[in-house]
């Protein structure tokens, strides 16, 4: 028969063992949670901006109907090598057809313009900015599909992109700048 003192000692030992196990589990969990907290948070967004506009042909006296799309892929990373960073990839494709000022297509014996490009930008911050915005030009060279570069056009599509607390809003097409970039 156990004396009350021996019973108390047994309970104390069990209590100590349980407390130790709980402490170890809690420590392990906190490490796990901490690891989750410090691992980078990556978010991806994508937008598509249609471009359809009649513009003056800067190489000739005519006009060109531009019909294309700019696809934006945006990635934000919080807690990576840089505390907060955002990367934007701009991929644009489209074509241009000779037209009148009102957009009516014309046949002048020349093949249509085509274009395709990919550029990008990246920004980094010491902390997630409440507000960040960038207005940048995406430069595309419109070349006749025949390869003729004698009336090659440079089209700069100016897009405005705003991030609020790291989240992008839909890009806004501000303007198209057209110039002649005739090559050989």
């Amino acid at each position: 028969m156990e004396t009350p003192t021996a019973q108390n000692n047994g309970r104390g030992a069990r209590f100590l063992r349980t407390a130790l196990v709980l402490l170890i589990v809690a420590f392990g969990l906190s490490r796990h949670v901490q690891a989750q907290l410090i691992s980078p948070i990556t978010l991806n967004y994508s937008f598509s901006v249609p471009v359809a506009k009649v513009v003056p042909n800067a190489c000739t006296s005519g006009f060109v109907l531009i019909d294309g799309t700019i696809s934006l892929n945006i990635r934000t990373i919080e807690g990576g090598q840089v505390p907060f960073s955002l990367t934007v990839t701009y991929a644009s494709t489209g074509n241009g057809q000779d037209a009148l000022a009102d957009g009516t297509l014309i046949l002048n014996g020349k093949l249509n313009y085509v274009y395709s490009s990919q550029t990008g930008s990246e920004a980094g911050f010491p902390e997630k900015p409440q507000d960040f915005g960038q207005t940048v030009g995406i430069r595309d060279y419109l070349v006749r599909s025949s390869g003729d570069k004698s009336d090659q056009l440079l089209v700069e599509t100016v897009l405005d992109l705003t991030f609020t607390n790291g989240v992008p809003s839909a890009p806004v097409l501000e303007k198209l700048n057209i110039s002649c970039s005739a090559g050989s």
Binding site: T119, E122, A123, G124, F125, P129, G133, T135, K149, S184
Partner: protein, 165 residues
């Protein structure tokens, strides 16, 4: 009969609020610092390989100008308007063939923090400067680093590579 004092008090409050608002706006304007700078950098990129392995490598010499207007508010928020003027020539390493490019690009940035960086790519059209050699112009992608530290902006042309798309 005594008239209610409210209409007069209300008018007084509106006038006072308008005066305070005007004062705050004036102070906010006074606390915004605007700086205009012109930076010119001569850049050399040696041994730029072209897309086709049979084409010779090219050395590129460029003069890059930035006309930058920076606005910093008392809160540290910033607006940067940069006009980037880039003119360059390329020289074929073996044949001495000459290529030229020139462009202007306007870019704007605004941020609630006064320290950040932006890395941005520009496409350039290198035109063969000899009309008797057709079909030898090409495109490049230049990466420009814009560093903003406590409201001070610096520019660095980092790389140029042939754009083979």
């Amino acid at each position: 009969m005594r008239r209610s004092p409210w209409p007069q008090s209300g008018l007084g409050i509106v006038v006072l609020a308008a005066a305070l608002l005007a004062l705050f706006q004036e102070q906010a304007r006074a606390q915004t610092v605007t700086k205009t700078e012109t930076t010119t950098t001569d850049v050399v990129f040696k041994n730029v390989t072209r897309c086709n392995a049979n084409q010779e490598a090219v050395d590129i010499y460029a003069r890059e100008k930035h006309y930058t207007q920076t606005q910093t508010s008392a809160s540290g928020a910033m607006k940067i308007a940069d006009s980037f003027n880039d003119q360059g020539t390329g020289t074929g390493q073996v044949s001495g063939a000459q290529y030229g490019y020139s462009f202007v690009s306007d870019n704007k940035f605004r941020s609630s923090t006064s320290t950040f960086y932006v890395r941005i790519q520009f496409r350039e059209h290198l035109i063969r400067l000899d009309s008797t050699v057709p079909g030898d112009d090409w495109y490049s992608l230049e990466t420009l680093l814009i560093n903003v530290t406590n409201g001070n902006t610096t520019f660095k042309a980092e790389t140029i590579q042939a754009d083979c798309r």
